[in-house]
Symmetry: C2
Subunit: 351 residues, 2 copies
Amino acid sequence: MSASNKPLNLKEVSRLLGVSTATVSNAFNRPDQLSEALRQRILKESAELGYHGPNLAARSLRKGKSDVVAVVLADTLSYSFSDPVASQFLQGVSEVLSHKKKQLLLLSSRLASKEQSSAESLPDGFIFYGAPKGDAFERISRSGKPIIAVDFEQGKVPSLNINNQAAARAVALHVIRESEERVAVVSLRLIASDRVCRLEKADLQAECKEVIAYNRLQGYLQACQEKGVDLPPHMIWHTPMNTPEMAEKAAYEALTITPRPTVILCMSDVLALGVLRVAQSLHIRVPEDLRIVGFDDIPEANRCTPSLTTVCQQSIEKGRIAARCLFDSDNPQAQLMETRLVVRRSSGDTH
Amino acid sequence: MSASNKPLNLKEVSRLLGVSTATVSNAFNRPDQLSEALRQRILKESAELGYHGPNLAARSLRKGKSDVVAVVLADTLSYSFSDPVASQFLQGVSEVLSHKKKQLLLLSSRLASKEQSSAESLPDGFIFYGAPKGDAFERISRSGKPIIAVDFEQGKVPSLNINNQAAARAVALHVIRESEERVAVVSLRLIASDRVCRLEKADLQAECKEVIAYNRLQGYLQACQEKGVDLPPHMIWHTPMNTPEMAEKAAYEALTITPRPTVILCMSDVLALGVLRVAQSLHIRVPEDLRIVGFDDIPEANRCTPSLTTVCQQSIEKGRIAARCLFDSDNPQAQLMETRLVVRRSSGDTH
DNA sequence: TGGCATAACTTAAACGATTTTGACCGCCAG
DNA sequence: CTGGCGGTCAAAATCGTTTAAGTTATGCCA
């Protein structure tokens, strides 16, 4: 119980206990290499000296593994913590990691490689969540360490995805009733613009790296076509960030044009919440005067008024699966998770 | 651009480039120690070889620092990601850390020390969020590394808190109008029980390690006393976890007794959301028939219907301050952040 | 020219663990 | 008596860096 000033190391401890460093190391790592009595003595007395186990840096340098897993987030960490979907994903990941007794290091693919390339050498495995922005993916995928790509695909790396297009089509088909419907879309980041704006014709044909937004939009367009509804680019509002505030800006614009849209397809629940709020402030009744659908099925989607019709994509489970697959060699190269249409109040009566 | 099988190390790179290891190291760390021309050559060619900077384990072993900061969460990581307040706190922390070019490692104070004591040796500093459950705090506070205690106080460690009692008193005083009021409380974890239950007289007098819940309860009790309202233990519902589901159980019980409470004081917004939902399902009008207040001011508190009267405790800013203070030696030992009463719809008309 | 500071690198010793190899001790079988 | 064997423990090499100290080479001034 004595408090020491400088942290002890294993060598010092072994000296004080009168045994070799190997023996102390074995006491912590390989119980079968020494008598149980001695092991207990070492564990007990070293703790009393203030030694709390081998230094991670030294240990992982020597062993070549650290029991640390990194989740590399597409956006800044700060943003990811504010996103309910990312939080749920991390919830699932950490649930499994704690069972596997692994630690969680959070990195951002946004960071200049310089800033964190050292940190990238520590983890034993990497979970990339969302299409990475920098060149971190390139570097790390060369390292030979286990890696999994979630919500995007790249090269030969194992991946975990949902069918965004099919799910978006399904929810749109549900909410669009007739060909006279006036449909607007509030889109996740899709183009380079950093402002809320309407799309232009060229945007729809351009190459797009934002696969999630792109695929969901394709689903919407497909559904509209099937329903005989026109969805021109200027009825698609682009938001650079997935926040209710962005959606509010878009919704003010969309809901003040004449004739007003009868349906708004939102690429995320977070966006839908913003739209909902604007509708309320404009005294537009949902779902009577305006039907709204979201995507993701975050917890709040079932609590807000009216509750949101949306697509459940099991974000927590996605995190669990990603973490489990990371160290399983015998899992399929590209996994596709099921999604489910969740019908609630915001899309009007079920038919 | 050549893909190598085994990751290169600095020594190997230096050999291939025909310079010493020190020079390569300096190229990465100390630009002033070599000519700019050579430095550029080394940086360029080593990247082409597939070397992406010094190994973190080796570097931090040698330097004694890692540029990693750990946030030690009181509960499991998994739980913390589901808690909006913790997420906001982490958002603030990560915002500052990314500016300081530090990485974020998440640990749980719950984990048996055995599981992660190695990981504890890596970080340069520790942010303890919430009163820790295990003995990690003991161990780490002895290490001499920078440390800050958030939402609790312990020993001589610098801490960051709000005045929970005063804030709880203020919000209770606001919502309680007259001495005839019937008040119920939905409490955060306060006692050892793992079920939703009512408190008993003994619980109010017992020693309590859950300082947040304890202090908020003291504030409620104080306000009741000042208003001349009786708040007996059996009108205080205990929830073992901060989730809407727990609150729903409590609220069903509380709202089906006769006479029904006129005010429910919830120790968190998350709990209040559960109560709100039950009130709606029982067709009890809020705020007309029942007034509800929360605590924390999470984003959803301003989006739900009716919006929640609550206490704003600036969780994001709290995270920022914690991260900033960690490495500032000249900050006060115990900081107290301001809170603010936020009056919205759920507490009825303002007077 | 000599002396000396300075720039540009190199050498080599840590950093704190893990692990292979081998030493030592007692004991039993041959 | 001795060789071998199981059970323990110690010595030393090694992991990939950083950095203090040392070595040249060069420029500058008296």
